[in-house]
């Protein structure tokens, strides 16, 4: 099982314990995961993602279970060339941070990036939030990713595959039920921020959206890696055998009819 939501590198707003690739590789092994999609954490707050991408690729190269998910900023010059270069250098998914870049839901740049990812059969990875609103630094002014952003992308290209991390139940439902059945199949969600018992939001979403819409994501090094498995382990008895999607399969399904 792939963890789609991990980063290395320092976090601007608080000290995070050892956000280093060797530590992450150990965590992946300890937790029984097959690997992780890894980003460069500071990149979300940096105007030019290129230096962060270089740091990321260099840092991950000794670690075969850590797969780079670098950033492509589609309102930046020569971004298509950057995208192709990163894919040639074993990027497995492309991250984008439209809220941090001030790009609206119908941004032509974001839709162009979505189309480019779809044509290249690479998932587009978007993060709703890094921290709970209640503890966010006064300097961290980017709003949470909106459902409108996700719906616009999901409707934009038949072959797009979008992975959304750190969404709660409200955003997931607002997006999912605002899409056609075909469009819904283009979006996958991690459930690291979805409540388990006693409210059982995760169980509700498994019942209503189906387990195939969900992938595993931990938000390491910001959050405890144990949370997603805990959520799975606390599903009601009748749901405990459900199989979520292994993100490793997503790139292989890009461009094929959804099942």
């Amino acid at each position: 099982m792939i963890d789609v939501a991990t980063w290395i590198g320092p976090y601007p707003f608080r000290d995070v314990p050892h956000p280093e690739p060797a530590i992450l590789a150990g965590v992946v092994e300890r937790e029984g995961l097959s690997g992780a999609w890894v980003g460069w954490l500071p990149a979300a707050w940096q105007r030019d993602p290129a230096p962060g991408n270089e740091h990321l690729l260099a840092a991950l190269s000794p670690h075969p279970t850590l797969h780079p998910a670098p950033v492509v900023r589609p309102d930046w010059p020569r971004w298509e060339r950057t995208l192709d270069d990163l894919l040639a250098r074993r990027a497995v998914a492309i991250r984008a941070y439209p809220m941090h870049w001030g790009l609206p839901p119908a941004s032509a740049a974001m839709l162009a990036l979505g189309a480019a990812c779809a044509e290249r059969k690479v998932p587009l990875l978007l993060t709703v939030r890094f921290e709970d609103l209640r503890q966010r630094s006064a300097l961290d002014v980017a709003a949470d990713l909106t459902a409108a952003h996700v719906r616009a992308l999901a409707r934009s290209h038949p072959d797009i595959r979008i992975v959304i991390t750190a969404a709660g139940r409200d955003l997931i439902e607002e997006t999912h039920w605002g899409l056609t059945p075909e469009e819904q199949q283009r979006v996958h969600w991690d459930f690291a921020w979805v409540w388990g018992p006693p409210e059982e939001h995760f169980a509700h979403l498994i019942r209503t959206l189906g387990p195939a819409r969900f992938v595993h994501g931990s938000h390491w090094p910001l959050r405890l890696v144990q949370n997603s498995q805990a959520n799975l382990d606390l599903l009601p008895d009748e749901l405990r055998a459900v199989a979520i999607t292994d993100a490793e399969t997503l790139a292989k399904t890009v461009g094929k009819n959804p099942t």
């Binding site: 209640r134 503890q135 006064a138 388990g196 018992p197 006693p198 910001l222 144990q226 949370n227």
Partner: protein, 272 residues
């Protein structure tokens, strides 16, 4: 006996909460607790949870109804549920009467919401009575209050530290270190308040929080708990295995600190 586990911060719903699914939610807590190995839920009912008066400013009638519902749950589940009596300090006489009655009915602690800031003088008679009754006070807390938040008169660790200094004989549980705000601020704010014991509950699961809390306060002052999100409680429980604790430290956090605070008589199921 590291396997024992007490959740010192739980809630149950009731028919007056305005939710048709309240029984399902209560069952889900108990079922998840069984799976997690929780031997005892120390729980409260927060008035009507906003249905007929605000959650954090419950009316006296809702306080009484909620406490009555909580008592019924505890009496129905004597092998796994203990309870806090919830009070609103704006109604002093009512609050004191609720505590006295609830103590007679088996309550083992007092729950304070955000009806009045923690260092307000109106909390003094409540804390004094709690100390006399040997009942720890679980106080709802925001970690580092940097502004007012709607629907609550929120307190932070520094506010609670001022109250705790006025009541050295009263034991306070600082609610949900992972429940929003800046937990690092709280650790500094209560470090010199030995009668404040943070619980680890809340939806926040920041890496580094557990280590920092134990480093700042010691394992003898930290209590494991869930509050509204039991999956984050389980995640923290599993993470505690990786922060370098001794078996004694782990037992303290899982259950022994709770027994010390509430008294062994509060948890006969633990010693059965």
């Amino acid at each position: 006996m590291t396997e024992l586990l007490i959740d010192v911060h739980a809630h149950f719903l009731h028919a007056g909460a305005g939710r048709a699914d309240w029984e399902r939610v209560n069952r889900a807590r108990l079922t998840a607790g069984e799976r997690m190995g929780i031997r005892c839920h120390v729980a409260s009912v927060l008035g009507s949870y906003g249905h007929t008066s605000p959650t954090y400013f419950p009316s006296p009638a809702d306080v009484t109804a909620g406490n009555a519902a909580m008592r019924v749950i505890a009496e129905r589940e004597p092998h796994r549920v203990r309870w806090y009596v919830t009070v609103n300090p704006n109604y002093t006489a009512h609050a004191l009467a609720e505590i006295r009655n609830a103590r007679q009915d088996g309550a083992i602690g007092v729950k304070l919401l955000a009806s009045r800031r923690a260092d307000d003088a109106l909390l003094d008679p409540i804390c004094q009575l709690a100390a006399e009754a040997g009942m720890p006070v679980l106080h709802h807390i925001w970690q580092h209050r940097t502004r007012e938040w709607p629907n609550q008169e929120i307190s932070d660790g520094a506010d609670l530290a001022r109250l705790a200094a006025r009541h050295p004989q009263t034991q306070f549980i600082l609610a949900h270190l992972g429940g929003g705000g800046d937990w690092a601020h709280t650790l500094s704010a209560v470090a010199d308040s030995p009668n404040i014991h943070p619980d680890l509950s809340g939806s926040g699961i920041d890496r580094g929080m557990l280590d920092a809390a134990i480093r700042a306060l010691g394992a003898g002052r930290v209590l494991w708990a869930c509050d509204l999100t039991m999956e984050t409680g389980l995640a923290k429980l599993r993470a505690l295995a990786h922060v370098g604790l001794t078996d004694d430290d782990l037992a303290d956090i899982r259950w022994r600190n709770a027994v010390r605070l509430f008294g062994a008589a509060a948890f006969p199921m633990v010693h059965a």
